[in-house]
C-alpha cells in the first residue's frame, strides 16, 4: 500500500483520509498509521503546494547555481553542503555527479538578492572553488505537472 499511497499524495496531499482509505481499499486507521509511520521514518518530509509563481505577476527570478567545492577531510561534501543549505534563501541543494559538485537552487528572489547571495555568501566560502549561475526563463513542467495548459476532454460523450 505504501507505494500507491505515496503516489496519490505526491499528486494530491489535500485528499481527505476517508477518501484515501476508500480508493486504496483499506481502513481509515491503516492510512493514518501508515502516514504517521512514514513521517516518522522521514519518507514523507512535508506536504507542500505546487505554485506557478509566474502567474502571481511578481518580478522575481529563480536560479540554478553550479558550485565546485573542495571536499573537507573526514566529512566529504556534507559540511560544505550544510553551510550552504543553512541559508534560508536556498531552496534545494543536491550533490551531483559530473562537472561540478553541488547544485544550489534559489527560487523567487530578485536579481539583486541572487547576485548578492552568490558574490557575498557563496563565493566567499573557503571550500568553494567556483560558481556558475543560470537563471530559469520559464517553467514548463514541475513535479510532474505541466504548468501551462489545462487539457479539455475531447472524447465523444457517449461511445460503446
Amino acid at each position: 500500500m505504501r507505494e500507491e499511497l505515496l503516489a496519490i499524495i505526491e499528486k494530491n496531499s489535500r485528499i481527505d483520509l476517508k477518501e484515501l482509505a476508500i480508493i486504496l481499499g483499506v481502513e481509515e486507521a491503516d492510512v493514518v498509521n501508515e502516514l504517521a509511520a512514514m513521517e516518522a521514518e522521514g519518507i514523507i518530509c512535508g506536504y507542500h503546494t505546487l505554485i506557478n509563481w509566474e502567474k502571481t505577476s511578481n518580478e522575481k527570478v529563480s536560479a540554478l547555481i553550479e558550485v565546485r567545492v573542495t571536499p573537507q577531510r573526514g566529512q566529504g561534501f556534507d559540511s560544505v553542503a550544510e553551510r550552504i543549505y543553512k541559508y534560508p534563501e536556498v531552496r534545494s541543494v543536491y550533490l551531483m555527479s559530473g562537472g561540478y559538485d553541488l547544485m544550489v537552487i534559489l527560487e523567487e528572489k530578485t536579481l539583486r538578492e541572487v547576485s548578492s547571495f552568490v558574490s557575498d555568501k557563496l563565493s566567499t566560502l573557503d571550500a568553494v572553488l567556483s560558481t556558475a549561475t543560470h537563471f530559469i526563463l520559464k517553467k514548463y513542467k514541475d513535479h510532474g505537472t505541466v504548468l501551462s495548459q489545462k487539457k479539455e476532454d475531447e472524447r465523444e460523450k457517449i461511445t460503446p
Binding site: E4, A7, I8, E19, I22, I23, L24, G25, D153, R155, E156, K157, I158, T159, P160
Partner: protein
Amino acid sequence: MRNPLADKVVEIKPSGIRKFFDIVSEMKDAISLGVGEPDFDTPWHIRDEGIYSLERGRTFYTSNAGLKELRQEICNYLQRKQGISYDPLTEVLVTVGGSEAIDMGLRAMINPGEEVLIPQPSYVSYEPCAILAGAKPVIINLKAENEFRLTAEELEEAITEKTKILILPFPNNPTGAIMERKDLEAIAEVIIKHDIFVMSDEIYSELTYKEKHVSIAELPGMKERTILINGFSKAYAMTGWRLGYACGPAEIIKQMTKIHQFAIMCAPTTSQYAAVEALKNGDEDIAQMRTAYNQRRRFLMNAFREMGLECFEPYGAFYVFPCIKEFGMTSEEFATRFLEEEKVAVVPGTAFGDCGEGYLRISYAYSLENLKVAIGRLEHFINGLRSKEK
C-alpha cells in the same frame, strides 16, 4: 428508382447508444460517464515511436497480416502474460481494432444458418456482425445473480446442432464481469463435448482487479478451437490508433487474412510501429493505469453502498453496472431523466441487450474529480426519486 439498399443491412437495428448520443451531444453543459475508452492519453514513448515512424517516411503498406516484428511481439506478449504460444508467421493477424477481428473471424468461419452464441449484456457489434456473416445469432441472457458470468448450464441450454461459435466477451463491457479459471474450465468442458469454437474477445484483459486475466485458450484442448481477440485500445489507451489482433489456428487465421487482405489491405502502418513500442516497453504504463482505474472502481462501489444503490462488485474493464429496478423505470427512462434533470450522461443497460433492462452502464474512465461531481448528482437524483415515493 430501384431499392438501392441491401435488406440484410436495413433490417439491422441501429445501435441503442446512437440514439442517446444524439440527445447528449445537443446538451452543451452535460457531463458524461458514458464513454467506452480510456481517459488517459497514449503514453508518450508510444506516441513518439509513431511520430518517429512518420519522420522516417514509413508511410507504406505493411504485409497483409501485419509487420513481422509486431506479430513477433504479440506472440512474446501472449507468452509472457497468458503462457500461450502462437506462431507469428501463421497464427496471428493484425487488424484495424479488435472490432475488425470480430468481423473477419465470423465471416471466415460461418456458413449460412449456423448459430453463433452471444452472451448479453455485451458489446454492441457481435450480433450485427454475426447477421452480416450469415449466421443466426442466439442470445444467452446473463444473470445478475451469477455476477453476469456465463455458466456451463446456460451454455449447454443454448447449444443446438447448428451451433458453431460461442462469443466469450470477458472482461465484459458493459457489466465489468470477469470469468475466473474455474468458470472457464466449466465452459471449456461443454465446448469440447459439443465440438464448437470460441471467439474470445479479451480486449479488456489487462484491466482486471481481482486476479490476473485468464484466457480460455490457456486451457487444455482449447487453443485449437479458440480465436483470441485482443488489441491496444484499452490496455495502452490507444483507441484512436485502431489496432487489434486475432490469434488462433493457422487454417482460420489464413482465411481471415485473405478477407482482410481484400477488404482492408493492412492495418495502419504508423499504429503498428507504435504498437511494437507499446508491447516492448509498455508494461509499466499498463500497471499505472490499472492502479488508477482500480482506485476509481473502489470509489464508485463505496459511493453506491453509501447511497444504497444495488450493484454487484465488478472486477474487470472500467465499468460498473448498477441496478435501478427499485425506481420502477426502464433503463432508458432513468438515463433520459437523469440526463435532463442532472445533466449527467450514462448509458442504459438495454443498449447492450434486452437483458440489460433495469441496469445502467457507468464508465470510470474519468478522473476522480469528475466522478465525484457526477456521483454527487446521481445521489441527488435518486434521493429525489425516493422521497417522492414516500
